[in-house]
C-alpha cells in the first residue's frame, strides 16, 4: 500500500492529490482535475488493470463539485483502486475514455443523462439511459426532487442507423416480445437470413433505482437492492449489505459468512440449470428443458426450506442473515443436493449425447476473446471467451477464502462453451456448498444492529451467477443512504451480443441471446 501510494505520487505529481485506504482492500486516489485519461492509460497498460466501472456522484451541496469514480481491478492484486476525479459545477464536462475503451461507452452516457456532465469527445454521445424523448432533466442531481412529475414526453424518438442496400432489410423486434421476457428493442439489418448488424436499445424498464436509494433508510434499502434483478436477488442483496458492512466496519459473524456463500451458490445452481434447459429449448430440444425444469425445482424447493423464499428474497440483512438454520434444514441441503447432482449429471449426459443439439450450439454466436476483453465482458460469457475473472477468487469475500474451487475458462466463445461454463460451475458450486456445510461454524448468524455512521464510502463486489455485481455506497445522516451505485454484469455484456452476430443467421439469434441470458432490469435499473 505504502509503495503503491509513493509510486503513484512520484509518477504523477501533477495529477494525484492524495492516496488513501480508508476501507481495507480499497485504495482511493484523489485527482486534481476531471481528466483521468493519463492515469487510466497507466493502469490499463503498465499495471494490467481492468476498468470495472465508471460512475458519478453529485457533491455540489457538500463540496461544491461533482465526482467521477473510476474503479480498477489490478491483475493479481485483491484490492480495488478507485480514482476520484472532481468535476467543477461551472464546467460540467470530463474527457471521455470511450473511444479507447469501448467498455465504458454506455456508462459514460449514463453519467451524461443522469448528471448532465458532458463526456467530451465521446464517439457516440447520444442518449442511452434516458430515452431520446425525455425532456432535458438530470434525475441523479441532488437538486432534482424524487417526487418530480414530468410532463408527457413529446421529444423526438430514437433514430436508428439506416439500413441501406440492395436486398437488405430491417427487422425490428421488440420492445414487447412474444414470450414472457423483459422489454428490449433489437433492430436487425439482414441480407436474407444472414445478419449484417444489430442495434440494441435498452432502458425500457428504467426505474430510477439509484435515485430511489438516496435518502432511503438502510435496512429498507436492502429490499430495494434485492429487486434490482429478480433472478439475482440474493447476489444484489449481499453485494449491498457487504458495501454497508465495509463502510460501517461491521464484523459479520463467521456462521453468517458461510451461510451467505451457500445461498449465493444455490442461486447460481438454480439459474445455471434453468439456463441449460432454456438453451436446449431454444434449439427445439424440449426434453432437456423439461428435465432441467424438474431439477431446478428441487433447488428452488430447497431455497424455500432454507429461507422461506424460492428466490432467496428477504434472507440477507445488514450484519449477516435474517434467520438461522436448524439441524434438519442443514441436513436438507445435503440430501437435496445429492439428488440434484445425480439428476444434473443425467441432464448433462442428455445434452452432450444429442448430436443435433451439439450441432446447433457449436460455432454459433462466437464472441472472440479479444473482443470480450475489449468490451469488458464479465461472468459466464467472459469465461467462455477467455476472460479469466471471478470475484470469488480474485477478491475473496464472505467465506470464499476458506472454500476451494476451480474457475472454468474456455477460449472458444460459442454458445456451446457458454453452456459448458455453466455445467462446470454447477459442479463447482455443489463442491463449494458441501465444503461450506462441513465447515459451517457455530455461533451467531447476525451481528448486533448498530447505527451506521454517516459519510462513509465503500465498494463491494459479488460474483453473481451472471457475473460481477458491484455496489458502491456513501452513507448519510440518520441511518440513511446518500448514494448507491449499482453495476449489474449485464451492462457490460449487452454490447457483446452485437459482436457475436457476425456470420450468424436471424434464426439463431434467440439461442445466442439465451446463452448470454442478460438481465434487462439489472441493466436499466
Amino acid at each position: 500500500m505504502k509503495t503503491f501510494s509513493k509510486e503513484l505520487r512520484e509518477r504523477f505529481p501533477k495529477q494525484v492529490l492524495t492516496v488513501e485506504e480508508s476501507v481495507s482492500g480499497q485504495v482511493t486516489v484523489l485527482l486534481n482535475s476531471s481528466d483521468a485519461t493519463v492515469i487510466t492509460r497507466h493502469f490499463l497498460t503498465e499495471r494490467q488493470a481492468r476498468l470495472v466501472t465508471v460512475f458519478a456522484e453529485d457533491r455540489v451541496k457538500a463540496e461544491g463539485v461533482f465526482y467521477n469514480y473510476y474503479v480498477f481491478d489490478q491483475l493479481g492484486d485483491p484490492s480495488w483502486v478507485i480514482l476520484k476525479a472532481p468535476i467543477s459545477q461551472d464546467h460540467p464536462s470530463f474527457p471521455s475514455l470511450a473511444a479507447e475503451l469501448p467498455s465504458v461507452n454506455w456508462q459514460e452516457r449514463e453519467i451524461q443523462d443522469w448528471f448532465g456532465l458532458e463526456a467530451a469527445g465521446h464517439p457516440n454521445p447520444r442518449r442511452v439511459a434516458l430515452h431520446d424523448n425525455w425532456p432535458d432533466v438530470h434525475p441523479l442531481r441532488k437538486d432534482f426532487p424524487l417526487d418530480t412529475v414530468l410532463p408527457a414526453f413529446e421529444g423526438e424518438r430514437h433514430v436508428y442507423r439506416p439500413t441501406l442496400g440492395e436486398g437488405v432489410f430491417q427487422i425490428p423486434v421488440g420492445p414487447v416480445h412474444a414470450g414472457i421476457i423483459e422489454p428490449g428493442h433489437f433492430n436487425f439489418a439482414v441480407a436474407g437470413e444472414p445478419i449484417l448488424y444489430l442495434q440494441l436499445r435498452m432502458f425500457y424498464t428504467h426505474k430510477g433505482t439509484e435515485k430511489l436509494f438516496e435518502n432511503l433508510p438502510i435496512p429498507r434499502a436492502v429490499f430495494l437492492a434485492e429487486s434490482i434483478s429478480g433472478d439475482s436477488a440474493f447476489s444484489h442483496g449481499a453485494a449491498f449489505c457487504q458495501a454497508i458492512e465495509r463502510a460501517a466496519e461491521i464484523e459479520v459473524p463467521q456462521r453468517a459468512q458461510f451461510m451467505r456463500a451457500i445461498l449465493l451458490e444455490l442461486e447460481r445452481i438454480a439459474n445455471h440449470i434453468g439456463d441449460a434447459g432454456a438453451i436446449a429449448n431454444d434449439v427445439g430440444f424440449v426434453i432437456a428443458n423439461a428435465h432441467a425444469g424438474r431439477v431446478r425445482e428441487l433447488v428452488l424447493g430447497l431455497n424455500e426450506t432454507l429461507t422461506g423464499s424460492r428466490v432467496l428474497r428477504g434472507m440477507v440483512a445488514i450484519g449477516g442473515v435474517r434467520r438461522d438454520w436448524q439441524r434438519d434444514q442443514i441436513e436438507a441441503i445435503e440430501k437435496t443436493l445429492a439428488v440434484v447432482e445425480r439428476e444434473f449429471r443425467d441432464l448433462t449426459a442428455i445434452l452432450q449425447s444429442s448430436n443435433s443439439t451439439r450441432e446447433r450450439l457449436e460455432r454459433t454466436g462466437i464472441l472472440r476473446p479479444e473482443k470480450a476483453a475489449m468490451l469488458g465482458v464479465v461472468g459466464v460469457a467472459g469465461r467462455a471467451s477467455g476472460v479469466d475473472l471471478d470475484v470469488r477468487r480474485d477478491h475473496p469475500y464472505e467465506a470464499y477464502r476458506h472454500l476451494p474451487f476451480r474457475v472454468p475458462v474456455y477460449q472458444a466463445g460459442d454458445v456451446r462453451h457458454r453452456l459448458q461454463v455453466r455445467i462446470d460451475e454447477v459442479g463447482e458450486s455443489l463442491q463449494i456448498i458441501r465444503a461450506a456445510v462441513a465447515q459451517l461454524p457455530e455461533g451467531s448468524h447476525r451481528a448486533p444492529q448498530q447505527p451506521i455512521p454517516p459519510g462513509r464510502c465503500a465498494l463491494s463486489a459479488v460474483e453473481g451467477w451472471r457475473g460481477e455485481i458491484v455496489h458502491w455506497v456513501r452513507t448519510g445522516e440518520d441511518n440513511r443512504l446518500e448514494r448507491c451505485k449499482v453495476k449489474d454484469p449485464s451492462i457490460n455484456n449487452w454490447p457483446a451480443i452485437v459482436e457475436t452476430m457476425e456470420g450468424n443467421i436471424v434464426a439463431d439469434f434467440p439461442v445466442i441471446n439465451k446463452s448470454f441470458n442478460l438481465s434487462y432490469s439489472g441493466t436499466d435499473r
Partner: protein, 313 residues
C-alpha cells in the same frame, strides 16, 4: 349417386373431425415423453371453438389477399383431402388429376399463405414466407419423385388406382424402390407439416418460426381456419403416406361393415405414425435453418433412387 354422396360426406366428416385429434394426440404424446401431463388430446377442438368465438384484428395495411387466404387455404386443403383414399382405395373425389392435383391444391394453399405473410408488410411475415417457399421449393420435387415411383408401379397417377394396386400386393413396400420412396415421402411429410427438426410448431420465438411466422397477423376465426387447415393438411399427408405404402386394412370399395373396418385400420395406422413422429421430435433438436436444404436434398436423392430402382428391380 347417393352412394357417392355418402362417401364424400363421410370422408369430409373424417377430415374435419380427425385432423384436430391427430394434432392433439401428437401434443399429448410429446408432453408425456417430457414428463408433462399436457392439456389433453381434445385441446385443439377447444382452441378452435375459442378462436371461432373471438373477434378479429385485421391489419390496416392488409389487402383482399389477407382476407381471402384463410378461405382459399381451408377449401383447397379440404378438396385435396377428398381426393385421397382414406377409408377405401376408392377416393370420393377421384374425378380429375389424381395425385398431381392433390400436390398442386396443397401448393395453392401454401402460395396464398406465403402471399398473406408478405401482404401485411410485417417483418416476421416476410421472413416466414421466404423460408416457407425455400423449403417447399426443395420439398416438392422430392415429393413428386416419390409419388411417381408409386404411380409407375400402379401404372396410373390416379390415387384410387395406386391404392388399389397396393392392396393387391400387401408386402410390396419391402421392395427397394418402395422403401426409398417411403423414406423420401416421410422426410417431405416432416418438412411440409412444420415439425422438428425442420420447424418447431410449439415455439414462441418469432425469429425462428417458419409456418407460425406467416400467420402471426391472423386472429380469431381466420386464425382458426388457418390452424384447422394446417392440421387437415397434416392428416392428408399422413394418410397419403400410410395408404400408399402400408395398405393393411384398406378396403377396395366403400360398403357397410368394411368401411367401419377401414376406419379402424386408418386410426390404428395414424396412431402408429404419430408415435413415430413424436419420438423423432423428442430425440432431436431443431436443425439449423441452413441445414434444412441438406435434409431435403437427402429426400430428393432417395426419391431419385426410388425412381431408378423401379426400373432396375
Amino acid at each position: 349417386m347417393i352412394q357417392r354422396l355418402i362417401e364424400n360426406a363421410t370422408q369430409l366428416f373424417l377430415l374435419l373431425v380427425l385432423a384436430p385429434l391427430v394434432t392433439g394426440v401428437i401434443r399429448t404424446l410429446k408432453a408425456r415423453l417430457q414428463t408433462r401431463r399436457g392439456p389433453g388430446i381434445l385441446q385443439p377442438y377447444r382452441d378452435l371453438r375459442k378462436l371461432f368465438g373471438k373477434g378479429m384484428v385485421i391489419p390496416e395495411t392488409a389487402s383482399w389477399i389477407f382476407t381471402a387466404t384463410p378461405w382459399v387455404v381451408f377449401f383447397s386443403t379440404i378438396l385435396a383431402g377428398l381426393m385421397i383414399p382414406m377409408v377405401a382405395a376408392k377416393a370420393p373425389l377421384g374425378l380429375f388429376g389424381g395425385v398431381l392435383a392433390v400436390i398442386y391444391l396443397l401448393g395453392l394453399g401454401r402460395f396464398f399463405l406465403a402471399l398473406s405473410g408478405l401482404d401485411t408488410g410485417s417483418s416476421f411475415g416476410g421472413l416466414g414466407s421466404s423460408r416457407e417457399m425455400t423449403i417447399s421449393a426443395l420439398a416438392e420435387p422430392a415429393m413428386m419423385l416419390a409419388i411417381f415411383t408409386v404411380a409407375i408401379g400402379a401404372g396410373s397417377t390416379g390415387l384410387t388406382e395406386i391404392a388399389g394396386a397396393a392392396i393387391g400386393q400387401t408386402w410390396r413396400f419391402l421392395a427397394p424402390a418402395q422403401m426409398f420412396a417411403f423414406a423420401a415421402l416421410a422426410l417431405v411429410l416432416i418438412a411440409e407439416t412444420g415439425r422438428i427438426p425442420v420447424d418447431n410448431p410449439d415455439t414462441h420465438l418469432e425469429l425462428t418460426m417458419i409456418h407460425e411466422a406467416m400467420i402471426l397477423e391472423y386472429s380469431g376465426p381466420y386464425l382458426a381456419l388457418v390452424e384447422w387447415a394446417a392440421s387437415i393438411k397434416q392428416l392428408v399427408l399422413m394418410t397419403l403416406l400410410i395408404n400408399c405404402f402400408w395398405p393393411f386394412g384398406l378396403q377396395p370399395t366403400w360398403f357397410g361393415f368394411g368401411a367401419l373396418q377401414g376406419i379402424g385400420w386408418l386410426l390404428a395406422k395414424l396412431l402408429l405414425l404419430c408415435c413415430a413422429i413424436v419420438l423423432l421430435e423428442t430425440v432431436n433438436a431443431k436443425m439449423r435453418l441452413f441445414r434444412v436444404p441438406e435434409l431435403l436434398a437427402v429426400a430428393f436423392t432417395l426419391g431419385s433412387l426410388a425412381l431408378v430402382s423401379t426400373f432396375l428391380f
